[in-house]
Symmetry: C2
Subunit: 214 residues, 2 copies
């Protein structure tokens, strides 16, 4: 029996739809009365683990799940030791540098050296500013990053932007898009190479789903 | 005008009650229709920032807030550079090592060397196992840590326990209590020492509240 790690939150609905198309039904996780984090699929061929998006690569890396679905942003931040098998196309958002709309900056390179940048994605933010050779101080926040520029704690933020509503409401604007993120299919490298429990069959079925949708 | 960082979540209600007792009314944050993360108190003497509990010490450390209220667990994990001024007495919970109820372990020292321990509090967990001289591998999870022992990914977890309901539901039991956590009043060290905006007056009023409650 294979185990699939599913991400809680915004990617869950599309994840379940895509797995259903591949013959794996985990729609029980969408039931609002459900408190189970671990359910066995009706056919008994697979079990699902419902975990935080950031934890999906952890379960896959440790081989506790053979497959997982997670946003590229999480993979970029954590650089986990997992096999990236497919871009699933949904859950698309931008990973951006943003700052105050009425501020003096029009690109990331305009930011003053050694300024402060708040982010939930400390590692990704640091990598980006290193790549443009701008020394900045990253302030690690775990939520409501937009408060950084509003309170004056930071000049800019690095965050995920989907609709742009939060930025707009807080009078912020995107300076630079670092990359576009979408949901990815990942696998435990060894399980995938050894084709444990016919893993490749599920991978093929999920890949076909991507083509159907596209 | 001073700024106070208030923690979202389980400590918010008691935090607001205690600040009200000290003459600072941030009850607007309890209004379910409120989307503001920053409100100025009716008297105009103070502003409140509503942030994630883990971010409270960040705002205080950077001087963006002169005062903050946060659980001791967060302070123990992050060791931020803030002044700890008072134990506020509420929000008490235990920081514990737990494992499967039907497992072979009856104390933390029974755990096998190099076993895996899942935790949201990586730094605190590491410090604890170093203090008992037991080498373990800490698996960083961001939520639903109880899945660690259930899925077999880890032998034990280190987590906050308040009612014990989650442990019970997942057939886990506490092996060891590392410490008891309660809400603490913290201040920006320099602002406190220089008594910016009569900070010490608010600190005294909040301390009196603790005595009233106790």
């Amino acid at each position: 029996m294979i185990t699939v790690a599913l991400p809680k939150g915004s990617l869950l609905k599309d994840t379940i739809r895509m797995l259903q198309g591949a013959g794996l039904d985990f729609s029980g996780f969408l039931d609002s009365s459900n408190r189970q984090l671990q359910i066995v699929e009706s056919s008994g061929r697979a079990q699902g683990l419902l975990v935080r998006a950031q934890d999906v690569p952890v379960y896959v890396e440790y081989g506790q799940a053979q497959l997982g679905i997670v946003g590229y942003d999480v993979l970029y931040e954590k650089e986990p030791n997992v096999a990236q098998l497919a871009d699933l196309g949904f859950g698309s958002c931008r990973f951006s540098v943003a700052t105050k709309k009425d501020g003096p900056y029009r690109s990331a390179l305009d930011l003053p050296p050694h300024c402060r940048v708040a982010s939930k994605f400390v590692h990704s933010a640091r990598r980006y500013f290193q790549s443009i050779d701008l020394p900045v101080e990253i302030i690690p926040l775990s939520g409501s990053v937009e408060l950084g520029p509003i309170t004056g704690m930071s000049e800019a933020i690095v965050d995920l932007v989907s609709t742009g509503r939060t930025l707009k409401e807080n009078n912020l604007m995107e300076l630079e898009v670092l990359f576009e993120s979408t949901a990815r299919l990942v696998a435990h490298p060894l399980s995938y190479r050894l084709n444990v429990d016919n893993l490749s069959e599920y991978v093929d079925l999920i890949r076909q789903q991507v083509l159907v949708v596209a």
